[in-house]
């Protein structure tokens, strides 16, 4: 395409004009952002309100946060949530990484790759309620056939790992795919054995992918309500389950404080891990 210099200058100025967003649309965009934050801001605000009932502002206080620290049930639920997230993340990160390496680094026939890829995508695309019901039914069927299986922490961890594997495998797999062959081939040319090449070359190179996969798995586990709701037992109440239950029992300002803490902790976690995951890539 040929253009005269004068023409392109005109174009540039015209371009600057069209690139600007219509003020009404800008306002809509800002409004949408406010819309996303308003409810959370309201919860955070109410958590600092002295009043036990109603929305009227009765003065600033941290008493609901203090009460929370003495609430055994909440502390137990918080511990459950963290154990569930940590254990399921550890298992799924190992399994997901194995799956990604096993799938990406071997000359599998095309049909097999297609099937495994399809299976890996299933938890990503199915609505979580269907996934949760499938888990519950499998556990119930196993209980009826084998007996002895009870819903609780074990079943929750198994269910969480199952959907986390897919996300870890997808993140690590994309990292493996972008890596290319050259570095690993160089290692082989320098007489690295299979195990040595995997441990000293491939794994360090995909470490950022593994970290961000684990981070994603951890947040997904913390974020999950539906799958926990269906696969938990009476002894394995997590924070989201506790909050959901207390909505039925009646809300106390403690719930506002708890929600605010959960929100701040997850945000800090996500931002912190993002920084951690980004650093090795820059080096």
């Amino acid at each position: 395409m040929r253009r005269s210099p004068a023409g392109s200058a005109v174009k540039l100025r015209a371009g600057a004009g069209t690139n600007r967003l219509h003020p009404a649309l800008s306002a809509l965009a800002v409004g949408t952002l406010v819309f996303l934050y308003l409810p959370l801001a309201a919860v955070a605000g109410m958590s600092l309100n002295t009043a036990r009932f109603g929305a009227a502002w009765k003065g600033f206080s941290l008493r609901w946060y203090a009460q929370l620290l003495n609430n055994e049930v909440v502390l137990h639920a918080a511990a459950n949530t963290l154990v569930l997230a940590a254990v399921s993340t550890a298992i799924s990160t190992v399994l997901g990484t194995l799956l990604a390496i096993g799938l990406e680094r071997f000359p599998w026939p095309r049909w097999m790759r297609r099937i495994v890829d399809g299976v890996v995508y299933v938890p990503v695309v199915t609505p979580d309620i269907v996934f949760a019901v499938g888990m519950l039914l499998a556990f119930e069927a196993a209980r009826q056939v084998l007996g002895g299986l009870r819903l609780g922490m074990g079943t929750m961890i198994a269910a969480h790992v199952t959907f986390q594997i897919s996300f870890v495998a997808l993140v690590v797999g994309s990292r493996l795919a972008t890596l290319g062959r050259s570095v690993e081939e160089a290692a082989r040319d320098l007489y690295a054995g299979t195990w040595h090449a995997l441990r000293r070359v491939t794994l360090p190179l995909i470490a950022p992918g593994i970290v961000s996969g684990a981070m994603l798995a951890f947040t997904l586990s913390l974020d999950d309500f539906v799958i926990s709701f269906f696969t938990s037992g009476p002894s394995s109440v997590t924070l989201p389950l506790y909050i959901y239950g207390s909505l039925r029992r009646g809300i106390t300002p403690e719930i506002h404080a708890l929600s605010t803490i959960v929100f701040l902790v997850t945000v800090a976690l996500v931002l912190g891990l993002q920084v951690l995951a980004r650093n090795p890539e820059k080096e």
Binding site: K11, G15, T18, N19, R20, L21, H22, L25, S26, L28, A29, T32, L33, L36, Y37, L38, P39, L40, A42, A55, A56, L95, L98, L99, G102, L103, F106, P107, V116, V119, V120, V125, T126, P127, D128, I129, V130, V133, G134, L137, A141, V161, I165, A169, S174, R181, E184, A186, R188, D223, F225, V226, P240, Y244, I255, H256, S259, F263, L269, L271
Partner: protein, 301 residues
Amino acid sequence: MNRLLVWYGELATTRKLTSRGLALLAVPLAWIILLLVAPLGAMMAWSAASRSASGDIEWTLSAANFLRLAGFDSFGWTRSYLVILGTTILVSAVTTIVTIALAYPLAFAIARRPPAHRYLWLALIIIPFCTNLVIRTYAWMLLLGSQMPPARLVQWLHFIGPSEALYPSRFAVYIGMVSNSLPFAVLPLYTNVERLDWAIVEASRDLYSGPVRTFMHGILPQTFPGLVTAIILTFIPAMGAFVIPDLLGGGKSWMLGNLIQHQFGVSRDFPFGAAVSLVLTFLTMIGLLVLRRSGDEVSIL
């Protein structure tokens, strides 16, 4: 067949590579098959089972549960379950349309920022979603409560009675659903908008087309893959929603998710619950197939 080949700089045989690869894949694949494929089979088995009068499960092969969802039960035909099915599709469709309509301006607004600031804005959109769905939904319950400014305003306008809240209502369900799916629509749209070829938009303007035609012919085709992904990521989860209609909607806003939850909770009717879940799976799969055919997706992972 055992071939010799060079693979990643290693001289190996296919047999050796296969056995090594299978050793890596064995545990994760076994896990996935056991806990992902088996549940699907379990769901089918349960949906064909029936419950005896005493509440025991009988492993039969009947379509009674599906007929019940279609409205046929022992008392004749009712439309209650079909209404729930219709509500599910309607709410999901409206949610998708409103979400996309709000996501486009937001994607453009972010893409218009200086590149250094764009990630900050994207983070601003994602951050509310780092927190739990239950908390986010409860936050709307609090904000739409009877003593809060939004409800006060609507009370003052006499759309609702004094000291009434804005929930449970269909309107509250839409608010919850739209705010829940916004980032999933903004992210894929943004990846397309960021790479938009503005020359085409300018050309359209130069040829005196109005904003609507410019959008339809200049912007829409360029952002189509992102749009398809945005619709998938909004519509499919919306079809399976149950927390939001449960907390923000009343009995009139029941969706398939609520029906399923009810079967596994209060009713303890696992076979019927399995049948409803299977129908929901089937519907979402159809939606996915239709949408995937209409365009390549954008990966947001």
